[in-house]
Amino acid sequence: MVKNLDQFVIGECGIIKNVGGEGRMRRRLFDMGATPGAYVTLRKRAPLGDPIEINIRGYELTLRKNEAAIIAMEVKDNA
C-alpha cells in the first residue's frame, strides 16, 4: 500500500518510495537520509499536531506535515 508520510499514525513504519518537491527542501530531505529505500517509523506528533518526529537511519528527525506530505511511503499490508 502506498501513502504519504503525513498520513502515518504514531508507531507506523514503512519504506520511502519517492520524494517529491524541489530545490532546497527536497535536497535537505536527501541530505538528512530520507532517500528512497530508507526505513522510517513515525515516533510522535508535536502537541499542536504539527510538526512530526520520525526515526530514520538510527536517529530522530523532525519535519513539518507539509514536508512529510511530499514523501510517498510503501507500507506493508498487515491484513
Partner: protein, 786 residues
C-alpha cells in the same frame, strides 16, 4: 603554520574536540559577510610545529543551500587547509558518513575522527575501525573528545596525512553512471582544482556549479538523455544521494557491531526524557515552567517567595550599608542575577565616588563631570547589566547544548508558522523580555536570513527589564495625578501592546519586504547530553569579551556624546545636572519638538515639550535613564530637585508643570518601548545584521514604528472617533498587501536584484537535450562514448 580544519555534522562533538585541541588559544570571530561563528585556535602539542585549527560550521552535506554549507565548501576549496579532520559521531554512523563521502571527493588530505567511542563502549557495541578505514580508504582514528582520549594520536595521524597530497576519490566508482563521473571529471581537469568534486556537484545539478561550468552541462544532459534508472529515472540529485547512502549502508552492520540488549538501553535514556519533555499535554506547560525559572533566577528580587508569602516583612533587615545588602531586596531574597547586579553596581558606584573625591579640587568641575558621569557613568550603566546578560546566556546555552532547544522549537513551530516564522524564533523573542542583547545574538540559530532580520527588528518590542521603570513610574504617575485607573493594568496593557506590535510587524514584513517561504523545518532532534562545563565557560567568556569590547568602544562613544550635549551650552559653558535646560540637547529638543506634536508631547506643551524629547534621548544610553532624567529636569521647571530614586514623584511633578494629558503620557510610554533601543542593543543588532543597509533600515523601522504606534495612541485616546480612521487605514494596507501578493506584484528596491537568477539555463534553451537535434558539446560527447 600548518592549518587543519574540523568538519562534521552538528552535534557530533566537533566543538568539544576543538576546545580540547586549542584550549585557551581559541578565538571566535565571524565568517566574512555572514553571522556564523568562525572559531580558530592553535594546537601546540606537535613538537616544534604549531598547528592552526579551524572549526568549520556543523553541516550535514556540502549542498549549496545554507550559509554554513557554503562556508565549509568555499573554505576547503579556496583556503586549502593542509588537512581536513572529519569528525564523525560513532553513535550515528550512517548519517555522519554521508558527509564523509562528499568530503572525500575533494583533493585535500582527509582523516576521519571517530568520536564518542566512550559511548559506543558504554552501549556495549563495537566498531571495526580497521574495516571502515579499508572501506573508505582514509585513516580512521577512534577518539573521545569528551574524555580527551585519542586526540593526540588523531593529530599525529593528521600530521602524517597532510604531508602527502591526496586526490579526491568517490564511493560511486562502481555505479551505473561511473563513466559520466569520469568524463565530466576529465573535462574539468586542468580547468579547475578539485575536478572530481566539481564534477559530482555538476552531475547533481548544483545551481552554483551549473553557473560556473556551463561547458559541461550539455555533456551531462546528453548522458541523462540516454540514461534511466528504475527508481529515479534521470533524477541525478536523488540518485546520487541515494547511492551514497546505499554505499554506506551496505556493510554497516559488520562495522558497527551492536549487541542487541544494550542498544535498547542507550536509546531509552533519551527517549524517557523525551516522553515527558515533549509530552502531548505536559510538553508546553513544562516549557513555560523552564522559561519562568530562567527569568526568575535572573531577575527576581524575591527568589523564594518569602516576601510574597509574608514570611519576610517589608522592614526586614536589608543590611543597608554593609557588604551583604545586595543579597536582599526590599521584601525577599534576591535571585543570583540580581545579587550579581547589586554587587557590580555597588563596586562600580564605589569606584565612581573614589574617582570623584580624588579629583575634587584637583580638576575643574567639568572634567570631574566628564570623567565621573560621562565616561564612568556611561560605561557602568552598560556594564552593570553584564551579569544578568551572561546569566541569561548561560541558561540558554545549557538548554541549547543539552538538546532541549530543538525540542522547544518542535513544540512551538506550529504557533509561529502562522506569522511566517519557525519555532526557533520563539527563544530570541522571549529573551527580549529580559534583555535585547542576548536575544539578538541568539537569532543565529535561525536558518533563514529574512526570518532572522524580521526577528531582530521586533525583539525590542518585547519590553526589556530596563524599560520596566518607565512603565511603572509613568503608570504610577498617571494614577496618582488623575486619581483613577490601575497602574498594574496600564503596565500589563503596554506589554501586550508591545507583543501585538511585534506580531503585526512580523506579519507585515514577511508579506512585503522580508518575504520568502518559511525555511524548511527538517531538523535533527539530537540525543540529550549533559552540557560540558568547559565549553559553557568558554562560550560565556567569549560573549563577555565581546560585550565589554563594545561597551568600551561604540557604546562609550555614543554615551559620551549624549553626555556632552546635555552638559554643555552652545557657547561651551559647562552646565551641572540641574541646568540641563540650557544645554545643546535641550535646544535641539526645542527645535525638533514640533515633530513630536502628533504624539502629544510636542508643541502643545508650549515651551516644555522638549523635556520629553530629551528624556527619550537619554534613554538611548540605558532605558532607565528616561525616568532619571525626569528627576533631574524637575529642578529646571521650578519643582525642586527630586533625584533619581523618586520616579513616580518626578512624573507627577512633570504632569503638573507641563499639563500633559493622559493619552499623551501613554503615547510617551509606547514611544519609548518601541523606539530605537539602548546603544548596547543597537550595537548588538548591527553585529547580527549582515549589511549596513539592513542596519540603517532597521533603525528607521524602529523609529517609524514607535512614531506610528504612539501617534495612534494619542489620537485615539484624545478623540475616540479617529480609531475609525486608523482601522480603515489598517484595512487598506492589509488589502493592498494581500492584493499585491495575490497578483505577485513585487516592488523591488534597486539593490535587491543581486541574487535573481534567470529561469532558463545558461544556454538559453530548455533543460533537457532529449528533443534537441544536438550541438557541438553533445555530439563530441556521443562520439567519445562510442
Amino acid at each position: 603554520m600548518l592549518k587543519f580544519a574540523l568538519a562534521g555534522n552538528p552535534n557530533c562533538g566537533k566543538t568539544t574536540l576543538f576546545n580540547g585541541l586549542t584550549g585557551s588559544t581559541a578565538h571566535v570571530g565571524n565568517w566574512p559577510g555572514v553571522t556564523v561563528d568562525k572559531k580558530e585556535g592553535v594546537y601546540k602539542k606537535m613538537g616544534k610545529e604549531a598547528i592552526a585549527v579551524v572549526d568549520l560550521p556543523g553541516i550535514y552535506s556540502l549542498s549549496p543551500y545554507t550559509p554554513e554549507e557554503l562556508i565549509t565548501r568555499q573554505y576547503i576549496l579556496k583556503e586549502r587547509p593542509d588537512c581536513v579532520i572529519n569528525v564523525v559521531d560513532a553513535m550515528n554512523l550512517e548519517r555522519n558518513l554521508y558527509l564523509t563521502t562528499q568530503l572525500m571527493e575533494m583533493d585535500v588530505p582527509l582523516v576521519v575522527a571517530l568520536n564518542r567511542m566512550d559511548e559506543v563502549e558504554k552501549s556495549d557495541a563495537r566498531i571495526d575501525a580497521a574495516k571502515l578505514e579499508e572501506k573508505f580508504g582514509i585513516p580512521v582514528i577512534e577518539i573521545s573528545a569528551l574524555r580527551n582520549e585519542g586526540t593526540d594520536i588523531l593529530m599525529r595521524r593528521a600530521y602524517a596525512a597532510c604531508k602527502k597530497p591526496r586526490k579526491g576519490t568517490t564511493v560511486l566508482k562502481d555505479s551505473a553512471f561511473a563513466q559520466l563521473i569520469h568524463d565530466t571529471k576529465t573535462a574539468l581537469e586542468g580547468v579547475v582544482d578539485n575536478p572530481l568534486f566539481h564534477a559530482m556537484k555538476l552531475i547533481e545539478m548544483d545551481p552554483l556549479e551549473v553557473e560556473l561550468h556551463p561547458q559541461c552541462i550539455r555533456m551531462i544532459e546528453a548522458f541523462k538523455a540516454t540514461f534511466s534508472d528504475d527508481t529515479f529515472g534521470s533524477d541525478f540529485e536523488a540518485l546520487i544521494a541515494d547511492s551514497r547512502y546505499k554505499y554506506i549502508a551496505k556493510d554497516i552492520s559488520s562495522i558497527f557491531i551492536r549487541s542487541e540488549k544494550n542498544k535498547e538501553v542507550y536509546i531509552t535514556k533519551s527517549d524517557k526524557a523525551d516522553k515527558v519533555l515533549t509530552h502531548k499535554i505536559w510538553g508546553i506547560p513544562i516549557f513555560l515552567l523552564i522559561l519562568f525559572t530562567v527569568f526568575h533566577m535572573t531577575f527576581s528580587e524575591d527568589l523564594l517567595y518569602l516576601g510574597a508569602l509574608g514570611a519576610i516583612k517589608e522592614d526586614f533587615v536589608t543590611l543597608e550599608g554593609t557588604f551583604y545588602q545586595g543579597l536582599f531586596g526590599s521584601g525577599g531574597i534576591n535571585s543570583p542575577g540580581v545579587i550579581l547586579f547589586n554587587f557590580l553596581d555597588m563596586s562600580m558606584g564605589g569606584i565612581s565616588d573614589a574617582v570623584a573625591s580624588a579629583m575634587e579640587g584637583v580638576a575643574s568641575e567639568w572634567i570631574i563631570g566628564f570623567v565621573v558621569q560621562g565616561v564612568l557613568g556611561g560605561l557602568f550603566a552598560v556594564l552593570s547589566f553584564l551579569p544578568q546578560i551572561l546569566l541569561l546566556f548561560l541558561f540558554f546555552s545549557i538548554l541549547e547544548d543539552s538538546g532541549y532547544m530543538a525540542r522547544a522549537a518542535f513544540l512551538l513551530d506550529r504557533i509561529f508558522r502562522r506569522f511566517g516564522l519557525s519555532g526557533r524564533a520563539f527563544m530570541p523573542m522571549i529573551m527580549g523580555f529580559g534583555c535585547s542583547i542576548p536575544a539578538m545574538v541568539n537569532t543565529r540559530t535561525l536558518a533563514d536570513a529574512n526570518e532572522r532580520t524580521a526577528t531582530i527588528r521586533v525583539i525590542p518590542f518585547f519590553s526589556c527589564g530596563a524599560k520596566l521603570p518607565i512603565l511603572t513610574a509613568i503608570a504610577g504617575g498617571i494614577v496618582m495625578q488623575s486619581g483613577t485607573g490601575n497602574a498594574d493594568v496600564i503596565t500589563y496593557s503596554m506589554y501586550l501592546l508591545g507583543i501585538a506590535t511585534a506580531i503585526l510587524s512580523v506579519l507585515l514584513m514577511r508579506n512585503t519586504t522580508m518575504k520568502g517561504e518559511v525555511a524548511p523545518f527538517i531538523m535533527e532532534l539530537p540525543a540529550y547530553h549533559t552540557p560540558q562545563v568547559k565549553g559553557l565557560l568558554l562560550h560565556l567568556w567569549d560573549k563577555a569579551k565581546h560585550f565589554v569590547k563594545k561597551a568600551f568602544t561604540i557604546i562609550l562613544l555614543s554615551t559620551v556624546i549624549i553626555w556632552f550635549i546635555s552638559h554643555f551650552s552652545w557657547d561651551w559653558v559647562y552646565l551641572p545636572d540641574e541646568k540641563i535646560h540650557l544645554s545643546i540637547l535641550a535646544s535641539i529638543g526645542q527645535f525638533i519638538q514640533p515633530l513630536f506634536t502628533p504624539m502629544g508631547f510636542g508643541s502643545q506643551l508650549n515651551h516644555l515639550g522638549w523635556i520629553f524629547v530629551v528624556a527619550a534621548a537619554t534613554g538611548l544610553i540605558a532605558k532607565e535613564n528616561v525616568i532619571a532624567t525626569f528627576g533631574t529636569l524637575a529642578a529646571t521647571i521650578g519643582m525642586g530637585f527630586v533625584g533619581d530614586e523618586e520616579g513616580i514623584q518626578a512624573v507627577v511633578h512633570m504632569i503638573a508643570a507641563t499639563g500633559i494629558t493622559v493619552p499623551a503620557l501613554l503615547a510617551f510610554i509606547a514611544f519609548n518601548m518601541t523606539t530605537i533601543p539602548c546603544f548596547a542593543a543597537v550595537a548588538a543588532a548591527k553585529a547580527e545584521l549582515e549589511d549596513k543597509k539592513k542596519f540603517r533600515m532597521t533603525l528607521l523601522f524602529w523609529f517609524a514604528t514607535s512614531y506610528l504606534v504612539a501617534t495612534m495612541i494619542y489620537l485615539i485616546g484624545s478623540w475616540w472617533w479617529t480609531s475609525f480612521v486608523f482601522a480603515a487605514a489598517a484595512a487598506a494596507v492589509a488589502g493592498v498587501v494581500a492584493y499585491m501578493n495575490k497578483k505577485k506584484i513585487v516592488i523591488r528596491f534597486k539593490s535587491h536584484k543581486k541574487f535573481v537568477t534567470s529561469q532558463k539555463n545558461l544556454f538559453g534553451c530548455a533543460r533537457s537535450c532529449a528533443d534537441c537535434p544536438g550541438c557541438n558539446v553533445s555530439s563530441q560527447y556521443e562520439k567519445s562514448i562510442k
